[in-house]
Amino acid sequence: MAERAWIKAAQNGSVDDLERLFRAHWPRAYRAALLVTNDAAASEDIAQEAFLAAVRNLDRFDRRRPFAPWLHRIVVNRAIDWTRARRLRAEVELGEHVASAPDVEPGDGTFARIGELSPEHRAVVVLRYVLEYTPGEIAKLLDLPRGTVNSRLRRGLDRLRELEA
């Protein structure tokens, strides 16, 4: 499998293979962060920080494990944290955030409305319907009971349908 070979080569000092790994995973990591945060600059920072964490832990990474879930776990958790923090800051910095335009592309259908969900609901919807993890995998990624994942998915989708109606 190419990914394992890239990780092994990157562990041995190959910048080219690290770049292959980065290019293969950046789009989905960035998009996941963007859909949770609805902020392009923050998403860039979050996805970049996740890759920096990968670099810091590269030598210890177990190549038998898939890379994507490990990366997405960092991305989504940090995106949730960032979104919660922004909500708190908005109480005192409302003007600044009102002035900033939403960054999710227009015409993105259902996902353009994901920003209306709570960060917790956004995260599970993105992981399920954008990154295509199963509810069991999402439960592991976010350290949540499987039932909580299912209920957040259900409520998230219900809310999206309400918004579309």
């Binding site: 990157a10 562990q11 041995n12 000092g13 910048v15 690290l18 770049e19 980065f22 290019r23 950046w26 789009p27 960035y30 392009a40 998403s43 860039e44 996805a47 970049q48 890759f51 920096l52 670099v55 810091r56 590269l58 030598d59």
Partner: protein
Amino acid sequence: MTPEDRAWEVVRRAYLERSPRPRARPGNRLLPTAAALAVVAAVALAALSPPGRAVFERVGRAVGVEPAATELFSLPGGGRLLAVAHGGVWLVEADGAKRRLAYDDAEWSPHGLYVVATRGDELVAADPHGRVHWTLARPRPRWPRWEGTYVDTRIAYLSAGDLRVVAGDGTGDHLLAAHVLPVPPAWDPARLHTVAYAVAGAVVLRTADGRLVWRRRVRVVPHALEWSSDGRRLAVVGARRIEILDGAGRTLGVVAPPGAAGLDAAFRPGTHILAVAGRLGGQSEVRVGGRLVFAGPGVFGGIAWSPGGGWLLVTWPTANQWLFLHGARVHAVGNIAHQFAQTDARTPAQIDGRWSQ
């Protein structure tokens, strides 16, 4: 540049700066230049038998190459040096005496009388004997840089992604620019209290009280900004490309060796001659004014000129050595990680040397 490309530059830089894993000793290759002989002398002497070593040393001396010294017995160019390693900061005197300073990072004051240092969430001004003059609590201060006259100085530093400036006596700390790139600020030697810094896609020159002097777009994601000592040249140093600006911010030229990576650069004091270090294929090279002065396997860490411009220090983490280059002469010093008490001497981290008068 797309977000993906920007992020890749940052990730790639972090990857190149991480501590290398222990590797097999590079093989001995006899290359046809004095610089190449220096490589072999520096790397392979320890592996030779005593007779072989003696022959090698004779050959080395004949072309101006010395065997690697086991300790830093003296600074070839005189002056004093701050060695900044992951394990802390060391002050090295001209006679080789070393003293550890309890800081994470440090830089000299303009005349070498004090150091400004960082320690956790603290900016510290102290004298080289360790007496603290003042401290300033700020979140994660990084890369303090000090400039000015004997009586009027400023310190620029980064804190939590912002560029801040404080007077040399610790007063008047203020925000100068928010959301700057993680690049050490660089004071303009030709304009008092005027500092260059990097933002996304551009380099900015601004006075310490906030007046914009110029802002220029650059096609480099810089990791360093290096002024010539007369302030008429500014090298915007990226990993693969160096853009040279003049004092007004106009682009004068670009240094972009095909296939090169991990570039570092510094102007020789008193000149516009640029020393450039970087990786090219499987080896690293140092060129001064375009002329190759040293090549070796692995990765070079950083370069620094002696105050008079006579010696060029090249740190070489792969070989656990510092190299002092003077024309064709190469003075290598080994066991750098041990001398500067790295936590794990088998994997020497990059050690930067900052030279003062």
